[in-house]
């Protein structure tokens, strides 16, 4: 038992040590300390390093986290059981940090610049790691002491919290929430009038907010709205019908480009009316989806995924190719794309556009919702669950799938139109594979197969990177890590689809159980 505790302490130290080394090597120590500094109302000016105190605080916080983690894992009755494992934990963490300082400190002392190989490790940041001490040995000892003590502190804090406070706090909070939730909220929401009031409130909010919060939020929300459309569209074929489409961006691009070519002054100067061009663009996207599906959809498995992936690349390359430059504008893209008009008046201000996007989202969500409950929707779901059985019950699986793909391509085309028209610019770089990957991700992060889930997913995935702009360089890194963690913690998404499911099997899966045990 004791040995297991030591091992888990060691492991916690090792993991956090690796993370800390990694964070230092990518230059996050500076950014992290800078964020802390900003948090305490002391923003760091450009070109300067955060103050020593915040660096220490950042390191200490890591160690405290590590210590509390191993305390949580071991969960002892008495603190004395915890002392040794935590010392091991802190020791390992401290040793790794100290070693890093020692190595890089000596490099600096010898005048070697390691930035040729590790770009973020500048002499200034090494000095920061060494807590502004000049001798590497001193710095190593100081870091070792700091990390060990902080780890110990973390474990102590967690132990005290866990033993003496958490129960009390949890109990009071949960009892309060329960009483409030059950008595008032339930009666409120169940009343029909309340629902209409809520609806009216939401509509009013949608109407007034875009006028108040400025163009940046309109822009971000507009992007979110366009991605909601994409998510709903992809959900038709992937979420409900169960056919994976990786190259969904191709339909998006075709919609955007058809619309742009019809409404922009260059390269063709057709300058068509917004609504007519919108209809044509949606129809073209749908047609392309139909034509792609025709030969592929009666094949099985992931082939649709791969074919659409290839198709998306083909579309992107063709759009920017020399061959079609005179037709599509080539890599320069298309500028001055037409905006919407309403009864002859210009309707393209950012506030009006966000209304347009809202309306489209509500419209498409409504249609999709009706479709799901219709015969077609049930046929799709049957195909997703089991194609053979679906076929046996008389569903024409091929034409159902074809319909789903066509509709889904049409929705993507609509999203493309809105996207191009709002930005007044579109180019090949707007239609890279990353867009479709983002759409797949938002669909799954929110919860496959339901529309509120998609909305949440779009908010999280297109809104989050906007929030993460604070940490600009580390934005995509954080995004990737969050994606993995999200899938590990909540694989069904934020809002899992609620659909009638078969009852759980009477006997539990032995393998699953065994894994849980291990």
């Amino acid at each position: 038992m004791k040995k297991a505790n030591l091992v888990s302490g060691f492991r916690s130290g090792l993991v956090f040590g690796i993370v800390l080394v990694f964070l230092f090597l990518i230059g996050f120590l500076e950014t992290g300390a800078g964020l802390l500094s900003k948090f305490f109302g002391d923003p760091v000016p450009t070109n300067t390093l955060p103050k020593l105190g915040y660096v220490i605080l950042f390191l200490a916080l890591m160690a405290i986290w590590s210590g509390s983690g191993s305390s949580k894992k071991i969960n002892p009755d008495r603190f004395s059981e915890l002392v040794l494992p935590v010392l091991v934990n802190g020791g390992v963490l401290g040793l790794m940090t100290a070693l890093m300082a020692l190595i890089f400190g000596n490099y600096v002392k010898a005048g070697v610049d390691v930035r040729n190989y590790l770009v973020a490790v500048s002499p200034a940041s090494i000095k920061m790691l060494m807590l502004n001490l000049t001798e590497p040995v001193q710095a190593a000892l100081a870091l070792f002491a700091l990390m060990t003590v902080a780890t110990f502190l973390g474990a102590l804090l967690h132990f005290v919290w866990n033993r003496h406070l958490s129960e009390k706090v949890k109990r009071t909070v949960s009892s309060k929430i329960e009483s409030v939730g059950q008595s008032k909220m339930m009666s409120l929401t169940s009343h029909p009038a309340a629902r209409y009031i809520a609806l009216a409130g939401a509509l009013a909010l949608f109407f007034f907010l875009p006028r108040m919060w400025g163009s940046y939020w309109n822009y971000v929300l507009g992007t979110v709205g366009i991605y909601i459309l994409l998510g709903i569209g992809l959900n038709l074929i992937t979420g409900w019908t169960g056919q994976l489409v990786i190259g969904y961006v191709s339909f998006f691009g075709i919609g955007a480009y058809t619309f742009s070519l019809l409404t922009a002054p260059e390269p063709h100067a057709i300058m068509m009316n917004f609504w007519l061009a919108l209809l044509i663009a949606v129809a073209v996207s749908a047609l392309v989806g139909f034509l792609i599906g025709l030969p592929i959809l009666n094949l099985r498995g992931d082939y649709l995924a791969i074919v659409t992936l290839g198709f998306a690349e083909i579309v992107r390359i063709l759009l920017k190719s020399d061959l079609l430059t005179s037709f599509t504008g080539g890599p320069r893209g298309i500028r001055d794309i037409g905006g919407p008009t309403l009864f002859g008046a210009d309707f393209s201000s950012d506030v009006n556009f966000i209304y347009l996007i809202f309306v489209m989202v509500i419209l498409i969500a409504f249609v999709a919702n009706r479709l799901q409950r219709s015969r077609t929707g049930r046929a799709w779901e049957a195909i997703r669950e089991d194609q053979t059985v679906a076929k046996a019950t008389g569903i024409n699986t091929f034409s159902s799938k074809l319909l789903a793909l066509t509709l889904s391509a049409a929705v993507a085309g609509l999203a493309g139109v809105l996207f191009a028209s709002r930005n007044q610019f579109t180019g090949p770089e707007d239609h890279i594979l990353l867009v479709s990957i983002n759409v797949i991700c938002l669909m799954i992060v929110g919860g496959v197969g339901n529309i509120p889930g998609i909305i949440i997913g779009a908010l999280a995935l297109k809104g989050l990177p906007e929030l993460l702009r604070e940490v600009s360089n580390f934005r995509m890194l954080t995004f990737g890590a969050l994606l993995v963690m999200m899938m590990l913690i909540r694989p069904d998404g934020f809002l899992p689809a609620r659909r009638p499911r078969m009852k759980r099997p009477m006997v539990e899966d032995p393998q699953e159980k065994a894994e849980e045990g291990a």
Partner: protein, 368 residues
């Protein structure tokens, strides 16, 4: 209205069924005509140019093949597109870079030459070290990738695994960028493997260079693939891998440790990716954080082209794709910019005409 709908659908169905053949035959006719035009009527290129195309295609194809095997192994067992596989290859390429850089700093004054460094004094040993390090690190990356990101989701729907893989791929790419910087690094080979050196042969009166690095990577990838084929077909590990690929539950009942086999599959696929990464480094000479992403997509395409889950299929698919990429534009007389268009079109057409890939796939229906 309803009846009309049904009728229309039926017509569509018929079109869909015959579309395959119509598309196939029309394309075959067009291609034959086009190739005849280019080869015999226009005669745009002489024999030496064709040989150059073929050589560069073969070398590229060999590397695609090696990466494609990694995809196919994992896809065969977990039915999952391991999007992070290209990034594992990138890790291998970085290993090659760092090993060569390190060895360039170790002096080895032998035979009275004081300026000689380890890399040039013991070139074969250096390359061996690079491969050893690259394959080990990539193997470990594959192992940890599976253990941390995929294993907890073994029984989750495939889409979820796909997202996890995408997340891991984004993470690894950006981690490499933040660690080593965004610009491409130059890999300096040992002197005997300088990229411009090679055998020169005379074709149609012009010299054609077969570079040592190209020949080296082609031979090596062939050897690795043969080795892997035997591993999968002849050893106990290979047998349990095939068993798990066919049916996880039955394999478990027969006493196969599924977790272990999946782990080992990821290690093997990582090792192969590492080897191809080191080869990529030695032949192409450049590495940065996006080195793995494009070859990754291509290799996956190659795996599907040859037949998913089928190791000889992955080899054939890789070579085919490489050759199509380098010869296709010349053969069809179009811009070289469109080589990927040709590659992906080939994939689509092959899938339409022969849905299970060139050599057929080795999967069971149950996987669906």
């Amino acid at each position: 209205m309803k009846k009309l709908n049904k009728k229309a659908l039926r017509v569509l169905l018929v079109i869909g069924k015959y579309a395959r053949w119509t598309v196939g035959i029309a394309l075959a006719l067009f291609l034959t005509w086009r190739i005849y035009q280019v080869l015999f009527v226009q005669q745009a290129f002489t024999a030496d140019t064709w040989l150059r195309f073929a050589l560069s295609g073969l070398i590229l194809g060999g590397m695609y093949a090696l990466i494609a095997i990694g995809y196919t192994l994992v896809y065969g067992i977990m039915f999952m597109i391991n999007f992070a596989h290209g990034e594992v290859m990138m890790i291998g390429a970085f290993c090659c870079y760092f090993v060569f850089e390190a060895l360039r700093f170790i002096p080895a004054p032998i035979a009275g030459n004081p300026d000689l460094v380890f890399l040039n004094a013991y070139p074969i040993l250096s390359i061996l070290i690079a491969f050893l390090v690259g394959m080990t690190v990539s193997g470990f990356s594959g192992y940890f990738l599976e253990k941390i990101a995929y294993r907890p989701l073994r029984h989750a729907p495939r889409l979820i695994l796909l997202i996890t893989a995408i997340g891991a791929s984004i993470f690894l790419q950006n981690a490499a960028m933040l660690l080593f910087g965004p610009q491409r690094k130059n890999i300096v080979n040992p002197d005997i493997l300088t990229r411009t050196a090679g055998w020169t042969i005379q074709v149609a009166g012009k010299p054609v260079l077969i570079s040592y690095t190209g020949a080296f990577s082609l031979i090596l990838s062939a050897l690795l693939m043969i080795g892997l084929y035997f591993l999968v077909q002849k050893t106990k590990l290979g047998r349990s891998m095939r068993a798990v690929a066919q049916d996880q539950d039955s394999a478990a009942l027969m006493g196969v440790d599924v977790n272990k086999v999946v782990s080992q599959t990821f290690i093997i696929s990582g090792i192969l990716a590492g080897a191809s990464g080191v080869m990529w480094g030695i032949h192409m000479g450049l590495v940065n954080h996006i080195t793995g992403s494009l070859p990754g997509i291509k290799a996956f395409t190659a795996a599907v082209l040859g037949g998913v889950g089928n190791i000889p299929g992955a080899m054939l698919g890789g070579i085919t794709l490489g050759v199509i990429e380098s010869m296709g534009p010349a053969l069809f007389g179009i811009d070289f910019q469109l080589k990927d268009v040709i590659a992906f079109l080939t994939l689509i057409i092959v899938l339409i005409i022969r849905p299970s890939g060139i050599l057929g796939e080795k999967l069971t229906e149950e996987k669906l």
